[in-house]
Amino acid sequence: MEKVLEIKDLHVSFSTYGGDVKAVRGVTFDLHKGETLAIVGESGCGKSVTSQSIMRLIPSPPGKITQGEILFKGRNLTNVSETEMRKIRGADISMIFQDPMTALNPTLSVGEQIIEGIRQHKNIGQAEGRKAALEMMELVGIPSAAVRMKQYPHQFSGGMRQRIVIAMALVCQPEVLIADEPTTALDVTIQAQILELFRDIQEKTGVSIILITHDLGVVAQVADRIAVMYAGKIVETGSRREIFYNPQHPYTRGLLRSVPRLDADDAELLPIDGSPPDLFSPPAGCPFAARCEHAMEVCSRVYPNKTRLTSIHQVDCWLQDERAPKKMAARI
């Protein structure tokens, strides 16, 4: 499959008064054409920083990409100029943010906010821009779009605003859409509609989607592949089936156990004890070791390397080592 985006060994840190926060520490993944990749993890694990780094939108200073490559169709985005980057933002790679209530400018009509996106990248007039915006608003399911495009954000409901944000992101037919917690701020019923919309749009336009979320329910509905992130690292990657039915990292197991399930009503909900490590001085070994019930001496000393289980299933865990006690490995 064609790779549209390759992230190689990405490191991002933020300098603060207390020292450097190493928010992303060697993240590597690919995005294929037309697929949905979900990046899952707790808040603060670096998933949003990763996505904003791809757009080069991390506030800088204090944020800085210290190492690694972001290859978009062979071009390394970490060293293109800001002017070049502006031509890519919105046109080739688009982004949707978490809270539709704050993502729209309250003083501009929604139509204008969509139109300015097209006109920034395509050499067209206001009338043509209007037409494209109208089509896009209809595509994302906004009724009587011609009237509504003259209205202001506060006249829309949360779900409708998120549709506007999606229309804004898609209006230039980008190849990659990064959605950072697109449904977190919405009601459950609206969530389902928006996720449905994502699938629908992907079918129609073939856009590749990176979905950033902490909600495994959302992931189960739309993701083709899943990357689990913890403390600035991707600890496990696999197909949706592999992650949900054959999780290999103790952290992935923990995440799955902490989600309520409708199909197993007697299953206990088990929270993961403790909290993620301090990223001012991340631990030398596996960052999850302090919270892991299977932790061994080696875990807190050396970071495990990738074990490839299938063509797409990979995990960073010492339990995959042949020297690990077999009992423990089996118990996972």
């Binding site: 603060t16 403790g274 932790a295 061994m296 001496e297 807190s300 990738k306 006690p325």
Partner: protein
């Protein structure tokens, strides 16, 4: 099947087999909190101290207060002592800041003016504080209809041109120190009342107050840890900003001849007197009062800004 590469900073062979045993967990290992916790006021003070400009302002004000007290005492001349043979003398060993058109000692008069300015500023701020806390407190605490009516009144009063009302009162009551303070307080409390009301409303509704109550926290602790930091900050800042505005108003009124009356003096009056000295080149008659008004307002403003930053709980790191 396992794909082996080099570990980050570790050769594969270096890792000994005995590391592959279950680790004995230290208690609470996942729960450590690394940042030492400081009390709110201590933290605020540390941050204020880092702000050099604000600290310079504070030091200036302390020195000014000291000089306002001892300045007129260490000078050999009194405030009202006129010496018509010594008119308009430049600064010298005898008259450190020179003399004015009536031969009065500018040095003594400057520190006397400092007394008036600081007195007016501090008293006006205090009166504002008391009225503002009472009015705003009642309005916010009672809520509902009372609050509604009290806020309507404030809205209407807010439309009154403040200095015009002050001038009117000065005309009616006749110039003088008491009048200035009454006139300034009559209109100055509105801002404070608004802030206090806002704070009280917040206190009533804050979820964290409810949350700490439900954890069984003692009331005094809630007040000390939650309420004071969140409510005193804006109030203290408002006070520091009321003082320079009162000082400005006094100087303004005195400049117009509506303030302090001769033989007593204030910086505004001295600046007004010094106006004619521009043409004659007697710079000291204008420069000293002008400098001290501006520097005092500057000091209060930068201190207020510094306090605002230091006391804002959201800016805590």
């Amino acid at each position: 099947m396992a794909l082996r590469k080099q570990h980050e900073g570790f050769e594969e062979s270096v890792i000994p087999d005995e590391w592959f045993v279950p680790k004995v967990k230290e208690k609470d290992e996942g729960e450590r909190v690394s940042r030492p916790s400081l009390s709110y006021w201590k933290d605020a003070w540390l941050r204020l101290r880092k702000n050099k400009l604000a600290m310079a302002g504070l030091i200036f004000l302390i020195l000014l207060a000291i000089m306002a007290v001892i300045g007129p005492m260490i000078s050999p001349h009194s405030v009202s002592e006129q010496n018509l043979r010594n008119q308009n003398l430049p600064p010298s060993g005898e008259y450190w800041f020179g003399t004015d058109k009536l031969g009065r000692d500018m040095f003594t008069r400057t520190w006397y003016g400092a007394r008036i300015s600081l007195f007016v500023g501090v008293v006006a701020a205090l009166v504002d504080f008391v009225i503002g806390v009472l009015y705003g407190g009642v309005s916010g605490y009672k809520g509902g209809r009372t609050d509604n009516i009290m806020m309507r009144i404030i809205e209407i009063l807010y439309g009154l041109p403040y200095l015009l009302v002050v001038i009117l009162l000065m005309v009616v009551m006749g110039p003088g120190l008491t009048t200035i303070i009454v006139a300034l307080s009559a209109t100055g409390w509105i801002g404070m009342a608004r802030i206090v009301r806002g704070q009280v409303l917040q206190i009533k509704n804050f979820e964290y107050v409810l949350a700490s109550k439900s954890f069984g926290t003692k009331t005094t602790r809630i007040i000390r840890k939650n309420l004071l930091p969140n409510t005193m900050g804006p109030i203290i800042v408002q006070i520091t900003l009321t003082v320079p505005s009162a000082i400005f108003s006094e100087a303004f009124l005195s400049f117009l001849g509506l303030g302090i009356q001769s033989p007593y003096t204030s910086w505004g009056m001295m600046a007004s007197d010094g106006l004619s000295a521009i043409i004659t080149g007697q710079w000291w008659r204008l420069v000293f009062p002008a400098f001290f008004i501006s520097a005092t307002m500057f000091a209060f403003n930068v201190l207020g800004d510094g306090l605002q930053d230091a006391l804002d709980p959201r800016l805590r790191r």
